[in-house]
């Protein structure tokens, strides 16, 4: 999984995504930030694994990059342009270079469209539907993802979860994108099927030099497929680093808790997990200072008052925690 040049495929800077709550009567309208000032880069042909629990903002981040939700602030640099400054028409032209794969199982494919229609749609939308050419391209797509030609004339409900996900991946690849957002693509699939799909995603990356933003709550899957990991908590990135480094030496207490909480399918490592008390807070009432402090086993006074800044603590490894030192 190496690319010849160390180029950046996409770069996100200070992204803020939020929504305004109407105030009641005399109270002020509030602005809730689902994503609060995050930045990261993804190299060409590489995968960034974005990890976090529900409500942390990872899906919103993916949607914001694709401009499916409106970002309040920040820059998203892709192919030399800032995606957030483009008009709809200009954005449409760039959309062919962006792909998205959502979580199956049932609702990412229109139940009333045949596979042929689903796969032809990207071509039709971008005006590339000249005659028999599309048919050939659809066939190539199906081959790429391991489906056979007679699947063209079937409807989504006739397929299993793994097959539907392959169709979704084929659709994402239709216009030869360079960057794909994958939002929990294997959640909801059986373990054996998940393995097939992950292998497929991995292979496609090598063949087509694709860059991925891989969003998941499952750290073991992330470890398998990413070269860099970013952990999100309540709208902020709390730690980011190269995969091997991260798993060997997680610095942020939340990262450690997350890793420790994952039940490993191995007897040798039966452990007492470091269990976090308390529940996952909502963005409506974010804690003061460091957002993680109410549940942090290592909190200090300072954590309640100030928000820690992201500081580098190793090659490419950054953390937002007062306890880590350079």
């Amino acid at each position: 999984m190496s690319s010849l040049l160390n180029r950046t495929a996409i770069s996100v800077e200070n992204l803020v995504v939020g929504f305004r709550l109407r105030g009641f009567f005399l109270s002020e309208p509030r602005f809730l930030k689902a994503v609060d000032d995050i930045s990261f880069e993804i190299g060409e042909g590489k995968t960034l694994g974005l990890v976090g629990e529900s409500g942390c903002g990872k899906t919103t981040t993916g949607m914001a990059i694709l401009r499916l939700v409106k970002a309040a602030n920040g820059r998203i640099l892709f192919r030399g342009r800032d995606l957030l400054t483009l008009s709809e028409t200009e954005m449409k032209k760039l959309r062919r270079h962006l792909g998205v794969v959502f979580q199956d199982p049932f609702s990412s494919l229109n139940p009333r469209m045949m596979v042929e229609d689903i796969l032809e749609e990207p071509f039709i939308i971008h005006g590339e539907d000249a005659g028999g050419d599309i048919r050939k391209r659809v066939e190539t797509l199906l081959q790429l993802v391991g489906l056979s030609q007679d699947h063209i004339y079937r409807y989504p409900h006739e397929f299993s979860g793994g097959q539907r996900q392959r169709i979704g991946i084929a659709r994402a690849l239709a216009l030869n994108p360079s960057f794909i957002v994958l939002d929990e693509p294997t959640s909801g699939l059986d373990v054996s099927v998940q393995a097939q799909i992950l292998n497929l995603i991995h292979d496609l990356q090598e063949r087509l030099n694709l860059s991925y933003l891989f969003i998941s709550h499952d750290l073991s899957v992330i470890k398998y497929i990413s070269y860099k990991v970013a952990v999100m908590y309540l709208g902020k990135i709390v730690e980011e680093g190269p995969t091997n480094e991260f798993f060997r030496n997680p610095c942020h207490p939340y990262s450690r808790a997350l890793l420790s909480a994952i039940p490993t399918p191995s007897i040798k490592e039966r452990k007492e997990p470091m269990v976090l008390e308390g529940k996952v807070p909502s963005i409506r009432n974010p804690p003061s200072g460091c957002r993680f402090h109410p549940r942090c086993p290592e909190k200090m006074e300072r954590c309640r008052e100030e928000e820690p800044k992201v500081i580098p603590i190793g090659p490419d490894h950054r953390v937002a925690c007062f306890r880590s030192r350079r």
Binding site: S160, L258, T264, S266
Partner: protein, 321 residues
């Protein structure tokens, strides 16, 4: 440890539908001992939830039916029991919690009402005492401020808290067996860790056996004493958790374990299992796994594999061993 708390012999449950007869469970044998956590593992459609519902005799009667077999609860056969007798057993002797607690809690009733309703059905106590029992149960599930929670509505609680309420309700009558059907699948990983730790503790404190149904092998490895692996309506392997993970005998179990991305291994290709889960209306002849099995032999195609008993209760249904 004289006799198992649950013993299932040759249980077959079919569903009679327009498209054909779905043979959801075919001659299932299972034993759960007192005080143990038994993990029932398998993928979608393998029949683990159907097994749980069969034990509780909650299979929806058209179109489903338990066509044969015995279910022994502490030596007593549940099959001949009528609905009225089962009604007493459910809740008191066997309790069940499900994946999505939101659908089990009445959204317009306070938690206290829902919980005491269950208690009052089985125990002759006053409403106030029922609430006290409920609060004590909540306390045992590490719920902060139990009396306050009793006054709340389900939507005011988080997913983890709702699941605790379900567990507390289930355990309030001290059943001998708790069936947990994917109890943490819908929860965040850190909350899942809390709930699993809770289940482990409750198993220790109250000596309640737990039948844990899940597709997550990691959960099984961390929590269970014994494990049963199911595929397409059959039990293919049963053994202690060490046996299953360190010495898996059935090819399906092997396949499952190698399909999981693990931490200690470096990034190599994951080995999936080829093929797809079979249609249970017309399952494959002979061993139901044979079309996907790497080690398939001639007799696997036609003969049903016998249950071979290995040492210390490690059973496999395969022609290979």
């Amino acid at each position: 440890m004289d006799r198992p708390i649950i013993e299932i012999n040759e249980l077959s449950t079919y569903f009679f539908t327009y498209e054909g007869v779905v043979k959801a469970l075919e001659r299932v044998d299972l034993m759960i001992w007192p005080n143990e956590i038994f993990g029932l593992v398998g993928e979608t459609g393998c029949g683990k939830s159907v097994t749980a519902l069969s034990i509780m005799k909650l299979i929806p009667s058209p179109p489903g039916k338990i066509v044969s077999g015995r279910i022994l609860l502490d030596g007593e056969d549940l099959m001949p029991k009528n609905e009225k007798e089962m009604f007493r057993i459910r809740g008191e002797k066997i309790a069940m919690i499900f994946q999505d607690p939101m659908t089990c809690l009445n959204p317009v009733k306070k938690i206290g009402e829902t919980m005491s309703e269950v208690i009052l059905i089985h125990l002759r106590v006053s409403k106030k005492e029922a609430l006290n029992i409920a609060a004590k149960s909540l306390e045992e599930t590490e719920m902060p401020d139990p009396f306050f929670v009793l006054k709340q509505y389900p939507h005011e609680l988080s997913g983890g808290m709702r699941q605790r309420v379900m567990i507390a309700t289930a355990l309030s009558l001290r059943p001998k067996l708790l069936i947990a059907d994917e109890p943490t699948t819908a929860l965040d990983v850190t909350i899942q860790a809390q709930i699993l730790r809770l289940l482990k503790r409750l198993n220790g404190t109250f000596e309640t056996s737990i039948l844990l149904i899940t597709h997550n092998l990691g959960v099984v490895a961390q929590l269970c004493h014994r494990v049963g692996v199911m595929y397409a309506g059959n039990i293919v392997e049963v053994g202690s958790v060490e046996d299953i993970f360190e010495n898996p005998m059935h090819p399906y179990t092997l396949g499952l374990i190698s399909a999981i991305p693990k931490f200690d291994e470096n990034r190599e290709r994951l080995k999936g299992i080829e093929g797809y889960v079979p249609n249970l209306i017309n399952p494959p002849m002979g061993c139901r796994f044979h079309p996907r099995c790497r080690f398939c032999m001639e007799k696997c195609r036609t003969l049903k594999p016998p249950c071979k008993h290995g040492k210390k209760g490690h059973t496999v249904a395969c022609h290979l061993s």
